[in-house]
């Protein structure tokens, strides 16, 4: 469907729009559920008053100080993981090319733990995670490069790097003192518990800058999926687009890992689920980001309530569900 207004025209895919709208609605529903339920139930109307600072002090404390930052961090981190997954899956043309599977998030956690052990503040930890992610990405790509990066070689090299980095992480944990090890250990499973606004803001800033960049890159990247030569023939400058996409993807997964720890499988599953729902031929940026947000907040809600009063870290739940999904994906895989 093409809409024309004067000299401008926009191509609209009704199904993608509907799916997007539905995902936004689901995200809102999950948000409301996360804000209102729990050990202390806040009725839905009271949430609004509490958020605007007019509710009872108890409701205000619980909603705006405890629950809201957690949900918002979840939404933002989920969106960032979904987007980063979409970028790498498009670049490698492979659902397994996502950053959590090929060691990028493990590298980010290595950087983060080093910062924790060095006694860093929240900002240093975020910086360490970013640096770890960028260095790992460079290494994995460098090692997988052999006259062009082949999807499956990248995935296998990434799995090796992942194993190595996980070992380094557990070594760092055994060498750290007890308090640092506890801090780093909680962060390592991937968890949204105890997240405050200072975790959400960097992710929000990164998304504010990178979402427009990604949407701008989406079209040329779809051309590149058809092969470098075909894309060049259509006037795409392949290498700059690819470099920009890699940079955006690495930054997104780095900043998301810094905020919530290495939550696995969101980046892997979100683009694939979104692609199936929108029935699009390739991964789509917008739908993947929305799907990531829904997945992560939904999983976090389930992780808090399933085994209550025990609170599971959300990373455990996404790993269990996502791994099963990956196995099913392999079963149907054409490869």
């Amino acid at each position: 469907m093409i809409v024309r207004v004067g000299p401008y025209s926009v191509r609209l895919a009704p199904r993608a729009l509907l799916v997007g709208l539905a995902l936004v609605l689901v995200a809102c529903a999950v948000t409301v559920a996360a804000l209102s339920t729990g050990e202390f139930t806040v009725p839905v109307p009271d949430i609004v008053t509490a958020l605007f600072g007019q509710g009872t002090p108890v409701a205000e404390l619980i909603v705006s100080k405890l629950r809201a930052p957690r949900v918002v961090t979840g939404l933002l981190v989920g969106a960032a993981f979904g987007l980063s997954g979409a970028i790498f899956q498009s670049l490698t043309r492979n659902p397994l090319g996502s950053p959590d599977f090929i060691g990028f998030t493990a590298g980010a956690s290595t950087g983060g733990i080093m910062a924790v052990v060095a006694g860093g503040s929240a900002a240093t930890i975020a910086g360490g995670a970013m640096a770890g992610c960028v260095i790992t990405a460079a290494l994995v790509y460098g090692l997988a490069f052999r006259g062009g990066v082949q999807g499956y070689r990248l995935v296998l090299v990434g799995i090796g790097a992942n194993a190595l980095l996980l070992a380094v992480n557990s070594y760092l944990l055994t060498r750290a003192n007890v308090n640092d090890a506890a801090t780093a250990g909680a962060w390592l499973t991937g968890s949204l518990s105890g997240r405050g606004w200072d975790h959400a803001i960097p992710v929000a800033l990164a998304l504010a800058v990178l979402v427009p960049v990604c949407l701008r890159l989406a079209r040329p990247m779809r051309m590149i999926e058809m092969g470098d030569d075909a894309a060049k023939a259509m006037g795409i400058r392949v290498e700059p687009v690819r470099a920009a996409a890699i940079a955006a993807g690495v930054l997104l997964s780095g900043v998301a890992t810094a905020a919530a720890g290495p939550v696995v499988f969101v980046a892997l599953a979100a683009p694939q689920l979104a692609r199936r729902l929108t029935r699009s031929p390739g991964v789509t940026m917008g739908a993947s980001a929305l799907m990531g947000a829904v997945l992560l907040t939904g999983a976090d809600l389930a992780a808090q309530r399933l085994l209550a009063p025990t609170q599971l870290p959300v990373g455990v739940l996404t790993a269990a569900v996502g791994g099963t999904y990956l196995a099913l994906l392999l079963r149907k895989d054409r490869h």
């Binding site: 995935v155 090796g160 070992a167 055994t174 455990v316 990956l326 392999l330 895989d333 054409r334």
Partner: protein, 355 residues
């Protein structure tokens, strides 16, 4: 065109290609195996003598000849000897398990850790200890067997379900995915039970420390059974390497060999994981190195793997004890640091070479 002559040339070339290298003579290989056993004995002595606590060599000997109950003697007799024996057992089982798996799946990337089998066994042990409160090794090793068997069946089914059948890459990916699921479930169980978590923390990264001689004695029969069964399978596996049809023609019961190999792998991986936690890469690298030296004959690959793996495992354990004095690095971590680069090197090859 002289087709007959052409065929003759190719056949001669093929014969040339499979001609054994000079050193692959049975007598040479047997001598090599004896030498490898001697190296293993030396490594075991090193593992008893070296550690975070410096003990003079004469004291080490005294600990065996004339134990006097001093601290040094207790450390050696109660800690280092069981640990060394554990390293021997776990190394031999994982090395043989890796060689068996690589031979059965014709997959150069097959490894008990990578394919999720050790993680399955670890989930079984976690269930037994954390949920059912069973702490007798003879009981919980059966949970490890159950987990390992389930994981191997699932990985194989998943990897061969697609249209193109099982390929090394698919098998590896299915294994990594299943391993992640098993690890996630195990850590969810441990979250709910801090006491068990504390006991299993080091075990979960793969460690030879912290098992008593009693556990070892109770797990040893399972390890020995797996080793014997695995070594007996060398001949049929050799024939299956030519393909299922050729194997059948040579009189191998294909399905029985597969199932028996699966049973051997389950026994080996289950017992090893119950003893030392889920270790990665031990079963991957050793058979590769062994094949490079002795050639493709499983009658030599299997025993060499079973002897070479404990040499390396004990070596890594000793290194882990020495580099971080007075603490130590778990052997699982040392192995991942050595093994992952080798795995990356194998994966970088042009073709992930078939066996």
């Amino acid at each position: 065109m002289r087709p007959a002559e052409d065929t003759a040339v190719t056949a001669a070339e093929a014969a040339e290609a499979v001609k054994r290298p000079v050193w692959a003579h049975p007598a040479v290989l047997a001598t090599g195996l004896v030498l490898a056993l001697a190296v293993l004995a030396l490594m075991a002595m090193a593992s008893v003598a070296l550690g975070a606590r410096s003990v003079p060599f004469s004291t080490v000997i005294d600990a065996f000849v004339a134990p006097d109950g001093s601290n040094d003697h207790t450390v050696i007799r109660e800690l280092r000897v069981p640990r060394t024996l554990l390293g021997l057992g776990v190394g031999a089982t994982l090395g043989l398990a890796g060689a068996l798996m690589q031979s059965l799946t014709r997959n150069p990337l097959a490894d008990p850790g990578l394919l999720g089998i050790n993680e399955g066994a670890a989930l079984g042990v976690t269930l037994a200890l954390g949920v059912f409160g069973l702490s007798d090794p003879v009981v919980y090793v059966w949970f490890a067997f159950g987990g390992a068997a389930l994981a191997s069946v699932m990985v194989y089914a998943l990897a061969s379900a697609g249209r193109s059948g099982s390929s090394p890459v698919r098998l590896t990916l299915a294994g990594v995915a299943l391993g992640m699921v098993a690890t996630a479930i195990a850590s969810a169980i441990l979250r709910m039970d801090t006491q068990t978590f504390d006991r299993m923390r080091f075990w979960l990264t793969g460690s030879l420390a912290g098992q008593t001689a009693d556990t070892l004695v109770r797990l040893a029969p399972f390890m020995v059974a797996g080793l014997v069964l695995g070594l007996l399978l060398a001949r049929p596996l050799n024939m299956l390497a030519l393909g299922d049809d050729a194997g059948k023609a040579l009189g191998v019961a294909v399905n029985r060999t597969r199932i028996l190999t699966g049973v051997a792998v389950t026994l080996l991986c289950g017992a090893a994981t119950a003893a030392a936690g889920p270790l990665w890469f031990v079963g991957l690298i050793v058979p590769h190195a062994v094949r490079a030296v002795v050639g493709p004959d499983q009658r030599w690959v299997l025993p060499y793997s079973a002897v070479a793996a404990p040499v390396l495992l004990l070596g890594a354990d000793v290194v882990g004890r020495l580099i971080a004095r007075p603490g130590e690095v778990q052997v699982g971590i040392v192995w991942a640091v050595i093994g992952a680069p080798i795995f990356i090197m194998l994966a970088r090859r042009k073709r992930v070479a078939a066996l």
